[in-house]
Every structure is written in structure tokens, then in C-alpha cells.
Subunit: 150 residues, 2 copies
């Protein structure tokens, strides 16, 4: 997928930034990842090919890439920040409050909501992030053992 990295380069240049080796490597790691990565995972990933990579460079780079719209950050309860390539798809997670199990939902649950919101609120390039949190069967019964009077 050189195309992606090339177009990233263009975008950065237009904003007066360079696609340095470090930035390139970070984008590459993010791109090759299936989902979102934590700061540490990114660091690790880059260090496989460039052991010298510095943590503060990661932070600075991610902030830059976020600002120009190449990556986005994801927050999930109980976890640190994570990052991923900015893509035009909805995120849908199902989280159990009890055991903190996290499931990715694939079904298209949100339909044409994005369009609807763009029109209604004059927002553009919107992505949706749905977090469904509740209790899985197991944790639910644990909860209820305490909740029901008696």
C-alpha cells in the first residue's frame, strides 16, 4: 500500500511538514495493524525495524498526524489512548462493565446516521463511534446476586 503513504506525504507537505522516516514508520505500523494500537504497541512496532525510536517522537508524531487528519485517537473505558489510521468507517464496541471484555461489533447498526447528522448539524467527514456497555451474561448474574434484595 505505497499509495497510502505517498498521499500522506503529499498532505503533510501541503501543510508544511515532512514525511520523515520516523513518521513514515509510525504510519506504516498503524497501517499494518488490524485495529487500533496503544502508544506502547506503536513504539514496539517501530522499534522492530528502528530500535532507536524515541517515545517523545511517537507522541509528537501522533499529535501531528491527528491534527492533519491522518490518524485518530480512540478511548475506551479502562484502557489508555489508542490510535489508528483515520478511516471512514464506524467503530462499534461492546464492553462488559464487569469483566471489561471488549467485543468488536461488525453489523451495520447505524445505517445512514452519518448522512443524517451531516445534514442536520453541518458537520462534515463524520465518523461514528458507538460504545455499547453493559454486562455479559456471567457478570450480570454476579451483579444480581448482590442486587436482588435478600
Amino acid at each position: 500500500m505505497l499509495n497510502y503513504l505517498e498521499s500522506s506525504n503529499e498532505l503533510l507537505q501541503k501543510r508544511g511538514y515532512r514525511l520523515t522516516p520516523q513518521r513514515y514508520m509510525i504510519l506504516q505500523v498503524l497501517q499494518e495493524a488490524v485495529g487500533h494500537l496503544s502508544i506502547d504497541q506503536i513504539l514496539e512496532g517501530v522499534r522492530k525495524s528502528y530500535p532507536h525510536m524515541n517515545l517523545s517522537t511517537i507522541y509528537r508524531t501522533l499529535e501531528l498526524l491527528r491534527e492533519v487528519g491522518l490518524v485518530r485517537e480512540i478511548h475506551l473505558p479502562g484502557e489508555g489512548v489508542q490510535f489508528e489510521i483515520f478511516a471512514d468507517h464506524a467503530h462499534q464496541h461492546l464492553l462488559c462493565h464487569g469483566c471489561r471484555a471488549l467485543i468488536h461489533l461488525d453489523a451495520d447498526l447505524l445505517g445512514n446516521l452519518p448522512k443524517q447528522i451531516e445534514l442536520q448539524y453541518h458537520f462534515y467527514g463524520v465518523t461514528l463511534d458507538l460504545l455499547v456497555a453493559g454486562y455479559c451474561e456471567k457478570c450480570w448474574s454476579t451483579m444480581n446476586a448482590f442486587n436482588t434484595s435478600g
Copy 2:
């Protein structure tokens, strides 16, 4: 709303915990708040009536209350963790990547999705959190000034 605090007490007791003055105050502050509060806001709030309140007590208490299901944590891009009384309503935020403006959406955008998910995934007591992120009109044009070739 003494009822709420009383039932919190019951719940805690059942799990072998006590509703100490500190915990009581924290719940009270959260309850009186309109929306979600940051750790600092909670500390501040409690200190109005009890200047001695300690930060680590806040952390420990929130973790406890979260675990028993009385409060929940909320993460929004670019902000620290926030907490609120666990209530059975959906959160819907609209965030601008550019200026980080945050808008609460009131409309009922998600319909019967909760029920649907409970049935389909065997999760219970689910709440939904929708984060719609995009660019507001102003930031969108700024972006485009850079994005369009030329």
C-alpha cells in the same frame, strides 16, 4: 434525592462495603452535577464542604463505585477521564476534530438499538454511547484549503 443515596448505601452494604462520608459526598457531588465531571471537578466539589478530601480517596472511591455499578467513566478525545452517576440513558456527543468543540446531542438517534443488542448479544443493562466526530463547517473549510490539490 435521598432515595438514591440510600439505595446506594444498600447496594454497597450488600457487597460488603460501607457508605462512608467520603463516598457519600462523592456520590452527592456527582448526582448534583448536570453531566459528567473530571476527577478535579469532583475533588473541588467535595472540598467545598470537606476541604480535607484527599485525591487518592477520590480515585479509590471512583474505582469502587464503578466496579459496583454506581458510576461510570466516560472518555472523550482530548480530555481526561470523566465520571457520572450510572444512568440508563444514551450519551451522544458531536465532536469537531479541528477545534475540539463538543456538542451534546439530545435527539433520540439510536431508537431501539439497546434492546436489539441485548437480545442479539446476551448483554444486559446496556447503555449506548455515541461519539460522532467530524469537522464543523469552519474547520472543514480550513482543512480543504490544504487538502484540495493546488
